[in-house]
């Protein structure tokens, strides 16, 4: 409606949910890659409350899972959360429904990386700092955060 009136794009437009969107394959792919059933999440929020990096995230882990449930791919792909997640497994250990949330995060990162965008590279780290970080650590970070 707003386009017709020549107004700016709404900042928070309603999500027009359809069965195609809910079942668009995104959720299925996440479930397949992670081996988890994201529909099992009942949004208790325990993953977020225990997350040591939650304060740095733009979308909290429980809401990431919620967006998966509703098939909201774009919101997730553009989120910083995937790259701030340290894969510490706190969330996985705490989940009362036994969802391996860390595996879901991995799957989401993999899907995001398929877009071909690097989220970390050798040029983004100070050479002096790099010299102090153990090599396996650096390789791990590159593997996790770049294509």
């Amino acid at each position: 409606m707003s386009e017709n009136l020549g107004l700016a794009t709404p900042r928070n437009p309603p999500v027009r949910l359809t069965r195609d969107m809910v079942n668009n394959g995104f959720k299925l792919r996440v479930n397949e890659l992670s081996g988890q059933n994201t529909d099992a999440c009942y949004q208790c929020g325990n993953c977020s409350s225990g997350c040591p990096l939650a304060q740095e995230m733009d979308i909290l882990p429980n809401r990431i899972i919620r967006l998966v449930q509703l098939g909201q791919r774009e919101d997730i792909i553009q989120s910083e959360t995937l790259w701030i997640c340290a894969s510490c497994f706190q969330c996985t250990v705490r989940c009362p429904k036994g969802i391996d949330i860390q595996a879901v995060m991995d799957a989401l990162r993999q899907i995001a990386l398929e877009e071909g965008v690097d989220h970390f590279g050798p040029d983004q780290i100070d050479p002096e700092q790099a010299a102090e970080v153990p090599q396996p650590g650096l390789v791990g970070v590159y593997r996790k955060l770049s294509t």
Binding site: P13, P14, V15, L17, T18, R19, V22, D39, A40, R66
Partner: protein, 651 residues
């Protein structure tokens, strides 16, 4: 003068923390007529009661006062103890120094002074107490059950199985109630009719149950054990004694009546049986829709009925029955969709309520179990369920939780998904409440395995756009508003009491709460009894309830009736009103104030007498009596006067 013994209870620290019990005991000892005083940590304990019994004998006490908790709790305990020790039970009084003193005060000095005064008033009362005998009342061992839904059926069967007679009165032409309309039941998904109809048949055939369907309560008089009930038996215009239930009349009737049983999704004739498994399976003619009654012409049903069972001349009959106990199990209704303006007020197509969706899902429903939307018969591919439609909305609709909707909506979405595999159900909810055995697991399964999308938020608006019914809601879990162009919307409308409940409770003289549901005598400890003796309640007439809870409550109410009937006589509390015949002027003001109809004018003596079986001892007539002719036993004017004096610190 009477020798009075006083026993002051600490109730652990419940009393002793705020009230100096030792000082209460010391002061009580100084009161006139008090011969013995003792305090003890738990007077209601076995050693405490033993103390009371022993001291009554040892100290030759004529009366005792227990200064402890409310008489509601332990009056009977201590009266029994006093009786064991040889006292008349009405020579035992309770001074409430807990609920009316220690629990509500914090200043120890003031609370102690008040406790002393409370004990003092009871000493005054006790000095003038008479020894009384309980009033013996006979019992008619036959029960009346009002309402033939699952609650009424279960209660009737339980009472009948124990050997007592039951009259089961049902307003509609068949028993079964709302449960007969349901498709499958949560959380086990067994077919509602399959588990209900055996009970309906059992109730219909039970030698101890007299079914009175198509009947309503006209008038109730009498009292516990001895009620007289007048029942209107509405004219079905069919002679049920000869009708075979062949159904030919129903096939031929040209009238079109919206089916209440099918939530108006279909029509039937003016002569009809509500559903095939009806008990009894006999038709009735609805006068308002019958073409003959309206125009004077037709009588098609009469022509096709080979045995001549149609009788347009029939009139309502009235019968009078004597019963000893009455169970009210009149069930519930749901808030009409028309009342919900923001959800289309019934004007937006393809917005139906939960009971209508039950009919769509039912194998015996209008679509034979296929989910088709009412507007064009198409199978909906996107379906939205809206919970709390009118519930938990104190500002506009009903303040309470309707309790059953979380579960039945999940069941609806599940059954829909089982029938339309490619379809997508969405459920808007505020909270999901699954407090029953196996309920949480049922919900988890629906969410995890069946692909039902739960959206946390209340729906704001429903409107039509082309052939879609659009729902505006929100999902507070993502913080995004949601718009769904749905094919069908199902509202979980608020469970409400039946409109007819208000009228019925007036006839029965039982109570309802602020939301119009029947009130129980105590929310925890007397959940199936009314305050008035002889009345019991079961099922959703008391408040929203699912089937397991309804059945449990029905059996509980039946058990109360059976326990009442297991005695040959009832013992009524004799501490009630009585009349000094010499003083009564016959003004009858007492009749107008008595809430229990216990006052009757005696034409011969020209005075107003007390029906001892009906009087509950509320004291209204005593207060209203202008000439002081009416007095309450053990609470006479002179007792009250000296109690007031004592409570003010005087002598």
């Amino acid at each position: 003068m009477k020798r009075i013994g006083i026993f002051v209870c600490h109730c652990g620290i419940n009393i002793a923390e705020t009230v100096d019990v030792k000082r209460v005991a010391e002061e009580a000892m100084k009161m006139d007529g008090v011969a013995y005083v003792q305090d003890y940590i738990y007077m209601c304990s076995e050693p405490g009661q033993t103390l009371v019994r022993e001291k009554i004998v040892e100290e030759k006490l004529d009366a005792v006062i227990i200064a402890a908790c409310s008489p509601n709790l332990h009056e009977s305990t201590f009266r029994a103890a006093a009786e064991e020790a040889g006292l008349n039970p009405w020579q035992c009084e309770i001074a409430n120094i807990r609920e009316q003193c220690s629990w509500i005060h914090s200043n120890r000095e003031k609370a102690t002074r008040k406790a002393i005064k409370i004990v003092g008033t009871l000493v005054e009362k006790t000095r003038l107490n008479e020894s009384l005998k309980p009033i013996s009342v006979s019992i008619t061992k036959k029960a009346l059950v009002i309402g033939g839904g699952i609650a009424g059926i279960q209660a009737s069967l339980d009472i009948a199985d124990s050997g007592y007679k039951v009259i089961l009165v049902e307003k509609e032409s068949s028993i079964g109630g709302h449960m007969a309309q349901l498709s499958e039941t949560f959380p086990t998904l067994d077919c509602s009719q399959c588990i209900l109809t055996p009970k309906m048949v059992a109730a219909g055939k039970h030698p101890n149950i007299e079914l009175m369907v198509y009947s309503e309560i006209e008038e109730v008089s009498g009292y516990v054990g001895n009620f007289i009930v007048k029942i209107r038996r509405k004219a079905p215009f069919v002679d049920w004694s000869t009708c075979t239930g062949c159904g030919l009349c129903m096939e031929k009737c040209p009238a079109k009546v919206p089916s209440i049983f099918d939530r108006e999704l279909t029509t039937h004739g003016a002569i009809f049986v509500p559903f095939p498994q009806a008990v009894p399976n006999k038709p009735v003619i609805i006068k308002d829709y019958c073409i003959y009654f309206k125009t004077g012409k037709c009588r098609l049903c009469e022509k096709v009925c080979e045995i001549g069972a149609i009788n347009f001349e029939q009139e309502d009959q009235f019968v009078e029955e004597e019963v000893g106990a009455i169970i009210t199990a009149t069930g519930f209704e749901t808030l009409p969709v028309a009342d919900l303006a923001e959800y289309g007020a019934g004007d937006v197509p393809d917005v139906i309520d939960g009971l209508a969706f039950e009919r769509l899902l039912s194998a015996s429903g209008p679509t034979v179990g296929e989910v088709k939307r009412p507007s064009d018969g198409r199978i909906p591919k996107e379906i939205v369920f809206v919970q709390c439609a009118g519930s938990r909305d104190p500002e506009r609709y009903r303040p309470y939780c309707s309790k059953i909707c979380c579960m039945y909506t999940t069941k609806h979405a599940l059954l829909y998904k089982h029938r339309v595999h490619e379809g997508q159900p969405y459920i808007f909810y505020i909270d999901i409440r699954t407090g029953g055995k196996g309920y949480e697991e049922f919900y988890h399964n629906a969410e995890e395995e069946e692909g039902i999308i739960y959206l946390r938020g209340k729906v704001a608006k429903i409107f039509r756009d082309g052939d879609k019914t659009v729902v505006w809601g929100t999902d507070t879990l993502t913080g995004r508003n949601i718009e769904i162009a749905a094919d069908l919307v199902v509202l979980a409308t608020a469970v409400t009491p039946k409109d007819s409940t208000a009228e019925l409770v007036k006839k029965l003289r039982i109570q309802t709460g602020p939301n119009g549901f029947l009130s129980e005598a105590h929310p925890k400890l007397r959940p199936v009894e009314c305050i008035n003796s002889g009345f019991y309640i079961a099922g959703a007439a008391q408040g929203p309830k699912d089937i397991p809870e309804t059945v449990a409550q029905a059996s509980a109410a039946a058990c109360k009736v059976i326990s009442l009937f297991s005695r040959d006589h009832l013992e009524q509390d004799p501490a009630i009103a009585w009349v000094d015949e010499d003083l009564c002027s016959g003004c009858r003001v007492c009749i107008s104030v008595c809430p229990y109809d216990a006052r009757e004018y005696d034409e011969e003596k020209e005075i107003v007498i007390v029906n001892e079986a009906l009087c509950e001892g509320c004291g209204s007539c005593v207060a209203a009596c202008v000439c002081g002719a009416t007095q309450q036993r053990n609470l006479t004017d002179s007792q009250i006067k000296s109690m007031v004096t004592a409570s003010l610190g005087g002598k």
